[in-house]
C-alpha cells in the first residue's frame, strides 16, 4: 500500500496525503526535480504532460502542457514558493492561456511536499494541497468534474460511433 494516510480538512480547505515508497529520499525527490520524470506522472495517461520549463528555485517557474485525446491542449504553471532539496518543495499550481500566460482568473492551489527517510530505502512523502477559498475549490472541482465528464462523454460518443 503506497498511500498510508489521507486527511481531509473541509474547514481549512486542505487535503493531506501521506505515502511511503521503497526508495531513497533522493530517488523520490528526482521525480519532482527531473522534468522528464515529472511529466511521466503529473498528468493522467489520457492527458500526457510535457514540461517545457522547469526551474525549481524560489520564485522560479515550471510550465507544462497536457494534450488530450483529440489534440486539445491545456497549459499549466507552478510558481515555486520555497525549496529545500531534496526534502521539501512548496509551490502554487494554476492554469495558463494557450500562449502560456498564467490565467489568474482561474483558481490556483498551493502544494507543500515533504520528503523524509523512514529507514534505509524507505521514504515517506507527504503532499498537502490547499485551496484559496471555498469558491475556488468549488470552481476547480467543478472544472475537474467537467473534464472527467467530458472525457466520459467522448468515450460514450466513440462507442456509439462504432455501432452499426
Amino acid at each position: 500500500m503506497t498511500v498510508t494516510d489521507v486527511r481531509k480538512d473541509p474547514h481549512n480547505l486542505t487535503l493531506t496525503m501521506t505515502t511511503e515508497f521503497g526508495a531513497s529520499v533522493e530517488q523520490v525527490w528526482e521525480l519532482w526535480a527531473d522534468p522528464r520524470k515529472l511529466e511521466r506522472w503529473w498528468g493522467p495517461p489520457t492527458y500526457p504532460a510535457s514540461v517545457d520549463h522547469h526551474d525549481l528555485s524560489p520564485g522560479g517557474r515550471v510550465t507544462y502542457v497536457m494534450t488530450g485525446p483529440e489534440g486539445d491542449q491545456h497549459r499549466g504553471w507552478w510558481t515555486i514558493v520555497a525549496v529545500e532539496r531534496p526534502t521539501s518543495l512548496e509551490f502554487v499550481d494554476g492554469f495558463a492561456d494557450a500562449d502560456g500566460t498564467p490565467n489568474l482568473d482561474m483558481p490556483t492551489t498551493s502544494a507543500v511536499v515533504t520528503i523524509r527517510a523512514l529507514a534505509v530505502g524507505r521514504t515517506q512523502m507527504e503532499v498537502t494541497s490547499t485551496f484559496g477559498s471555498i469558491e475556488q475549490m468549488e470552481q476547480l472541482i467543478a472544472m475537474g468534474m467537467l473534464e472527467g465528464l467530458t472525457a466520459a462523454a467522448n468515450q460514450i460518443d466513440a462507442i456509439l460511433a462504432n455501432q452499426p
Binding site: 487535503l15 530517488q27 506522472w41 475549490m137
Partner: protein
C-alpha cells in the same frame, strides 16, 4: 477524475454529460458559479447569437446544472449547486486525482530502481 454518480439515474447522467460536452456550456457553468449573469450579458461574451446562447442555457437547465429566474426584463442564470456539488464531491475529487498521481509516481520509481 473519478466521480460517483450512482445516485443519479442513467437519463440524468446522460443529460449532464451532453450538457457538459460543449465548451461554451462548460464556460457558462463556470461563469455562473462565480457570480450573477443574465442571459443577455452571457450572450455578449460569445461570438454567437442571443438565441444560440439561450439554447445553451436551456440545455444546462434541462440537465439541472443551472436555474433561470426572471427579474423584470432580464433572465438571470444561477448555478444549481446541488447538482454541481453532488457530481463533484469536492475533496473526494481532489483525493482521487492525487491517488492516481501517486500510483503513477510509484510506477515511475519502480521503472527507475
Amino acid at each position: 477524475m473519478v466521480v460517483d454518480l450512482d445516485r443519479q439515474s442513467a437519463e440524468e447522467i446522460d443529460r449532464v454529460f451532453h450538457a457538459l460536452a460543449d465548451a461554451t456550456r462548460r464556460d457558462i457553468v463556470q461563469r455562473v458559479l462565480d457570480g450573477e449573469w443574465s442571459v443577455s450579458a452571457l450572450a455578449r461574451e460569445y461570438p454567437m447569437s442571443f438565441a444560440a446562447v439561450q439554447k445553451h442555457v436551456a440545455v444546462l437547465e434541462r440537465a439541472e446544472l443551472v436555474t433561470k429566474e426572471r427579474r423584470g426584463r432580464e433572465q438571470l442564470v444561477h448555478p444549481n449547486l446541488a447538482t454541481v456539488r453532488r457530481a463533484a464531491r469536492v475533496l473526494e475529487g481532489l483525493e482521487a486525482l492525487w491517488r492516481e498521481r501517486i500510483v503513477r509516481f510509484q510506477s515511475v520509481l519502480d521503472d527507475d530502481l
